[in-house]
């Protein structure tokens, strides 16, 4: 019997597609051109003009110093950066040479094979010795450096000065005091949340876990094991989730809040206190509480201590596929140099990653003092594992908090389940 044509066609298709899905040959390029065009991707910020001005002056100086070199800067939207970066990794021909990226993405991008190892160049860079230890940690994966820190962001406690004065309250100095102050505000002013919190606000909840000595995960020989179900971490989870209730922030509304929702509520004058970042300053200033608020570091477990904050921020790295290795690394260093970071602080309010530059900034602008204090007191970072991006995108921690808040599970059961999911992610991603 003869084979019908369609069967042949389908068979040909199968053969043409070979036996495995496509992969890109994103191997490190051996080329190191000393002239030509460098492509740079930076994030498009809300109100990007001041940032662009600083970058333009850096680029002009760079082009002058390296004759025959052109720098092509593109500002990419933050919302769609994940797709853009994936596409860049898949197609080296259209990828940039230098790229800005969020510091929680470092390990994931390294795992994907997209970032260039610049350990040697970073060590030889004179400015590197003043880099903040947490900022350095945020570009380091398994002992190797994959970029230079661009700026850091930390969160602290915003509070309403007018409400505190009216009720005769003082800014809390311990975590327990924070909770009781929040309840006092809510009791006296039922239309306000005491401290506005969010069940999906992971980075706002982390200080509560860290304040009691808990950890998200512990590293051992380069691989991570979840510690979210340890006794200390459970205590922190309990402290955070107990803030959800009619006496502070009703679960029916607050369980679904993310970070932006809490800042919006505070800016609109609906909360006595909120946990916000230095990057939230502009949003709060634009709200109805302008001139009626102040910021202090988030208090820790004991009086006078500061709860360890999550050190967010962005880095600038070089892509593995670059054909201008030397130039690209030099441009990365110029874009994250002390001078650039100082200018960037003046332009955008981005906190510098160098301690000396940051202290100068704090002297100039009193607003950043509590954030600089928070950084000086010691900050923490998420596990430097590709598993973290998986944990983050599959909402493991928000689910855990929401299960406790809505009364579906006890702290123990919810944290044990989260720990199991985290370990699975660390195990599969390494």
């Amino acid at each position: 019997m003869k084979l019908p044509v369609p069967a042949l066609l389908v068979g040909a298709l199968f053969l043409a597609a070979a036996c495995a899905p496509q992969t890109s040959s994103n191997s490190a390029s051996d080329k190191d051109d000393k002239s030509g065009t460098l492509r740079v991707w930076l994030f498009q910020e809300v109100g990007n003009d001041p940032k662009q001005k600083v970058v333009d002056s850096v680029v002009a100086a760079f082009e002058k110093a390296h004759t025959g070199t052109k720098v092509d800067v593109e500002y990419i939207p933050v919302d769609t950066r994940a797709q853009r970066v994936k596409a860049a990794f898949n197609d080296p021909a259209s990828a940039p040479d230098v790229m800005e990226y969020g510091n929680t993405d470092t390990a994931g991008y390294v795992h994907d094979g997209g970032l260039l190892d610049v350990t040697k160049e970073f060590a030889a860079w004179p400015a590197a010795k003043d880099t903040d230890p947490t900022a350095r940690q945020s570009v380091t994966v398994a002992g190797k450096v994959y970029g230079a820190p661009f700026y850091v962001g930390v969160r602290a406690l915003y509070y309403r000065t007018d409400v505190f004065r009216e009720l005769g309250l003082k800014p809390p100095t311990t975590m327990a005091g924070l909770a009781s102050t929040a309840r006092k505000i809510r009791a006296a002013k039922p239309d306000l949340y005491g401290l506005v919190v969010g069940g999906a606000y992971t980075y706002g909840a982390m200080p509560f876990i860290w304040a009691d000595g808990g950890e998200l995960a512990t590293a051992e020989g380069g691989s991570y094991t979840s510690a979210i179900d340890s006794a200390a971490a459970q205590k922190g989870i309990k402290a955070y989730t107990s803030l959800f209730g009619d006496d502070n922030c009703p679960a029916a509304k607050c369980a679904g809040f993310g970070g932006n929702d809490t800042v919006t509520a505070f800016a609109a004058g609906k909360a006595g206190m909120a946990i916000g970042g230095d990057f939230s300053h502009a949003a709060v200033e634009a709200g109805s509480v302008k001139g009626k608020y102040a910021v202090v570091p988030l208090p820790g477990a004991t009086a006078g201590s500061v709860a360890p904050a999550f050190a967010g921020g962005n880095n600038i790295g070089v892509l593995k596929s670059t054909t201008h290795r030397t130039l690209a690394v030099q441009l990365m260093e110029e874009l994250t140099a002390k001078k650039t970071q100082a200018a960037m602080f003046d332009a955008m309010g981005f906190l510098p990653t160098f301690k000396d530059v940051r202290d100068q900034a704090a002297a100039k602008e009193p607003f950043v003092k509590p954030f600089v204090q928070t950084l000086a007191a010691g900050t923490k970072f998420v596990p430097a594992s590709a598993g973290w991006s998986q944990i983050d995108s599959s909402l493991v921690l928000p689910t855990m908090f929401q299960e406790v808040i809505s009364g579906k599970k006890s702290v123990g059961a919810a944290s044990q389940e989260a720990a199991k999911k985290m370990d699975d992610a660390f195990g599969s991603a390494g």
Partner: protein
């Protein structure tokens, strides 16, 4: 519409033609290629648009295929049914699948009920109200899902929403409880998908000969009776199409859940299969796992459709 049926019909025709041109020197076997040649353009397009993507989906689902493999950071590894066993061993997958089936069923039933009722209404009202109803329905139909979801969410907002003020519910949160959140999404889904049912069924009713309806009315049948015994049987092919369409749409729902419940509700209580697949697989670039969930979705939908067609056929309807 099975492939063998087509083949038999084609062979039949070929034989007839072969009989007529007996004097032609062309050998008999050559004639067998003729029909395929004519079908080839359509087959190539169908193969390219349908078979090849499904083939790729199946292929990816048996590999460990994440962003690291796509961009060449790690070699691609064959894992056999590993991705499928990951999916099936996850308790959450089964509860999400159950919720998806229940939610889709509720959406399909509500959409069909609202769509058919309004289609009948359309045939009973004057031109002006009919035009208004048509325009309103088309407006709902044309609204992008993200916009529609956001507007519905705002209508039911605990602090600023007009619905709570109208019903005097204070600051009741509609998205906190599992069923109330599903109910809210159901309302939006019905609102944006009933127009398709309504317009299609309305067109069907218009095509029913007026004498049949008149005869039924003369025989003293009530409105409900006319619908059940005259219209519905005559509209069966159309109802079948809209039902299958609705089943497929509502089973694959993503935007409404993603937007209205903030990516799956409190602690994931409002997850449906598509959002679950997005969260577990695509957001963290585990394309192999995502493809496995895709294949499972495809098989479930195929099974539902086949069972439905089978049921219809048993009732003696020609397709």
């Amino acid at each position: 519409m099975t492939p063998t049926g087509v083949g038999a019909a084609v062979r039949g025709r070929v034989r007839v033609r072969g009989g007529l041109s007996r004097s032609s020197p062309r050998p008999y076997g050559g004639a067998g290629w003729g029909p395929w040649l004519y079908l080839a353009p359509a087959l190539v397009v169908l193969g390219g648009l349908l078979v090849y993507p499904i083939y790729q989906l199946g292929l990816i689902s048996v590999f460990r295929y994440t962003q690291a493999q796509v961009s060449g950071g790690e070699p691609t590894a064959f894992v056999g049914l590993g991705n499928y066993s990951d999916v099936f061993s996850d308790d959450q997958f089964w509860s999400v699948l159950l919720a998806t089936v229940g939610f889709a069923a509720a959406c399909v039933v509500s959409t069909l009920a609202v769509g058919c009722a309004l289609a009948v209404l359309l045939t009973r009202v004057r031109a002006l109200p009919r035009l208004a109803l048509m325009l309103a329905a088309l407006g709902a139909w044309a609204t992008p899902a993200v916009t529609g979801s956001t507007v519905w969410l705002f209508l039911f907002d605990p602090d600023f929403g007009p619905v709570n003020r109208l019903l005097g519910l204070g600051d009741h949160s509609w998205t906190y409880g599992r069923y109330s959140a599903f109910f809210l999404v159901l309302l939006e889904v019905v609102w944006c998908s009933f127009p398709f049912v309504m317009v299609t069924v309305y067109a069907g009713i218009r095509a029913v000969p007026a004498e049949v309806l008149e005869a039924a009315a003369l025989d003293g049948a009530s409105q409900w009776r006319i619908w059940r015994s005259v219209l519905a049987p005559m509209l069966r092919p159309i109802l079948m199409v809209v039902t299958i369409q609705s089943v497929i749409w509502d089973f694959k729902i993503f935007t409404q859940i993603y937007v209205m419940t903030g990516g799956g509700g409190i602690a994931g209580q409002n997850l449906v299969l598509n959002v679950y697949a997005y969260q577990q697989a695509f957001a963290s670039s585990q394309y192999g796992l995502g493809a496995a969930i895709g294949v499972v979705t495809l098989l479930v939908l195929l099974a539902v459709t086949l069972v439905y067609l089978r049921l219809l056929r048993r009732q003696g309807e020609e397709l």
